[in-house]
């Protein structure tokens, strides 16, 4: 698992597809999530594009595309039941899967130990 400074997690599967979600720390900071808007499957994204909107009881925030690539699957379950993002942010409540162009780009992100240092826990 890799983490971004924007508190996303990324996991490369055996099929070369990267799954993206938000960290448990981010979910806790956001508070109860009440709305999620996901991109359409097939969308070509460039790193730092705003691809997801999350609204918690407190505020709206964006999730940025962590890498260049194409959205190949989205998790409709969290649209129907946004509270899953608080219940299991680093598991069942993933946001989208993307086919990336450059697998090496994943390496620039933090591993779990570095992320824990980053968030100061």
């Amino acid at each position: 698992m890799k983490y971004t400074e924007e508190h996303e997690w990324l996991e490369m599967g055996d099929d070369g597809i990267v799954t993206v979600g938000i960290s448990a720390h981010a979910a806790e900071q956001l508070g109860d999530v009440v709305f999620v808007e996901l991109p359409e499957v097939g969308t070509e994204v460039t790193k730092d594009d705003e691809v997801v909107v999350i609204e918690s009881v407190k505020a709206a925030s964006d999730i940025l595309a962590p890498l260049d690539g194409e959205i190949v699957e989205v998790n409709e379950a969290i649209v129907d039941e946004p509270s899953k993002v608080n219940d299991d942010p680093e598991g069942e409540a993933w946001f989208f899967r993307m086919q990336i162009e450059d697998a090496a780009a994943l390496e620039e992100y933090m591993d779990e130990a570095a992320y824990k240092t980053f968030i100061g826990s």
């Binding site: 508070g31 109860d32 009440v34 709305f35 009881v57 407190k58 709206a60 608080n86």
Partner: protein, 373 residues
Amino acid sequence: MADDLKTTVLNDLHLSLGARMVPFAGYEMPVQYPMGVLKEHLHTRAAAGLFDVSHMGQVILRGPDVAKALESLVPVDVAGLAEGRQRYALFTNEAGGIEDDLMIANRGDHLFVVVNAACKDADVARLRAALEPRGITVKLLENRALLALQGPAAEDVLAEHHPDVRDMRFMDVATVPLAGAECWVSRSGYTGEDGFEISVPNAAAVDLAKALLADDAVAPIGLGARDSLRLEAGLCLYGHDIDTDTTPVSAGLGWAIQKVRRLDGAREGGFPGAAQVLREFADPPAMRRVGLRPEGRAPMREGVALFETEDAAGAIGHVTSGGFGANVNGPVAMGYVPTPMAETGRTLWGEVRGKRLAVTVTDLPFVPAGFKR
């Protein structure tokens, strides 16, 4: 947390309960506890929630003809308020705008007034300027905390501590011994639920809060859920849904002005901005506060511009409070729209992230009130 923030006497208790603290109106206050805003909201409507509202201003007014004197500042019937009763009121300004909203209780030989935290210095100054020349003393209490116990279980919980509270009706006030101290209890609150607000001496406040929290039905509730509960109940938050630019009738608060203070009433007018405020009963103001129910699940928050149609150019109004209604299980909002567009059922459009989303003008409250009248 900034050093210049004040704290309430319950601060250590909040921290021990795991509260996340935020600055609010000059105080460090709990915004949520580990339960989280949504569950706190639902718990309050299902059982009971305990709120620390000690940041609010508690003021005693005492002196000759105090009720009539206070009527020089508020458009409500204070002189006709019976002993042991409380009433919602507004401070108005010369333009008819709203300076604050408040509660006034007739406690026999004095009036007990509760004002918003953010306005309390200005309110006390306003009260002193108007009332002291008439020989009335204005005392801002620093030695009492204020708790709100809200929800359908509130009566059973509080009656464990003193049975007399069962006999109180909505907006009754009484002196009741709780936690060994003289408490001033009103059957009121700001969640739309039945419940009580309890003014308690600082020295007994932590004991009382702990005793109430010891009941399984009671959970501590932060400002986050306090805001979503009052929004779902259709209640105004000062500085958001009402302010110096809104008038009582435009805010849908005309009901707070009793007939005796209106045109041709026995004590017509006599408060700041009376001409403007009273004219609006016959000659409706341009804008009107309404409930708004956005379609879909996206919250429509304060500041969102409202449009008459999906592609109209100019905004016709804006959202003043908006968020997620946990019991409605969807987004809810309030805002101001032109009076001709304020009819229930009308579709308007709010712009969120560049997209126009449909909203329906809706009767308030969004959830039925649970008051024991």
